[in-house]
């Protein structure tokens, strides 16, 4: 299990490969499910040109780790990797990677979805978008995945 919060640009698929080459034992996992969230160039009808992602150092990592641990305990998965960017970014930049390795795909799908849903619900990050007119807008809330309550029920 590895959780990284970084200012550097995120190359999600390089991270997956690197993790497979350095941490996982080759030939043992049957599949990997990944989610990559990318920055969009619009939000609520406004054109967005840049974004700053604020976070609470220490608390953010702690809460992502807790969510990953819940996923490792709740499903039969082999490993979980999360890399999340902070700081300044631009449209199409990857913001977050969640990757889950497992012997069987069902667990990997469930666990990956759980991690991204609860990361979004609990990890202290705040998006501040800059519009084409130079207006700064703090994003007020994330879109909900109807699967959030569902995952929680499965784990209960």
């Amino acid at each position: 299990m590895k959780v990284v919060v970084q200012l550097d640009a995120l190359d999600p698929y390089k991270e997956i490969k690197h993790h497979e080459e350095t941490v996982l034992v080759s030939g043992k996992h049957g599949g990997v499910v990944s989610f990559v969230g990318t920055m969009r160039d619009f939000n609520d009808g406004e054109d967005v040109t840049a974004m700053n992602l604020d976070h609470y150092p220490g608390m953010t990592e702690k809460h992502i780790e807790a969510v990953c641990q819940e996923a490792m305990d709740g499903w039969d998965v082999m490993d979980v990797l999360v890399v999340h960017r902070v700081g300044d970014m631009y449209p199409a930049d990857p913001i977050v990677l969640v990757a889950v390795w497992s012997a069987h795909r069902a667990s990997a799908f469930d666990a990956c979805r759980y991690v991204i849903n609860y990361l979004k619900e609990r990890a202290p990050f705040w998006k501040c978008e800059v519009t084409t007119e130079g207006k700064k807008i703090w994003v007020e809330h994330n879109s909900k995945d109807p699967g959030v309550a569902e995952s929680r029920e499965k784990l209960a």
Binding site: Y56, M59, K120, R122, P124, F125, C128, E140, N142
Partner: protein, 76 residues
């Protein structure tokens, strides 16, 4: 007791500062900390953490605790 206070995101801009220090006498809760920082009631959407764990205004504090106030989170 001495309490370290942190603000994030839009609340940081609203409060005009990133952090603060508050000194309280006797038993005190997060609500007492907020009362020292602002004459307004805490907005209902604001979240509270003590020592990097989510909690609420009723939590009793001890010397040296770190109390953070911030708006709903929007990561991922």
């Amino acid at each position: 007791m001495d309490i370290d206070v942190k603000f994030f995101a839009s609340l940081r801009e609203h409060m005009g500062r990133t952090s603060d220090k508050v000194t309280l006498e006797g038993e005190a809760t997060v609500a007492d900390v907020w009362g020292q920082l602002s004459s307004e009631p805490m907005p209902s959407n604001i979240l509270v953490a003590v020592n990097k764990e989510y909690t609420d205004l009723s939590q009793v504090l001890k010397n040296g605790d770190e109390v953070a106030f911030f708006p709903p989170v929007t990561g991922g």
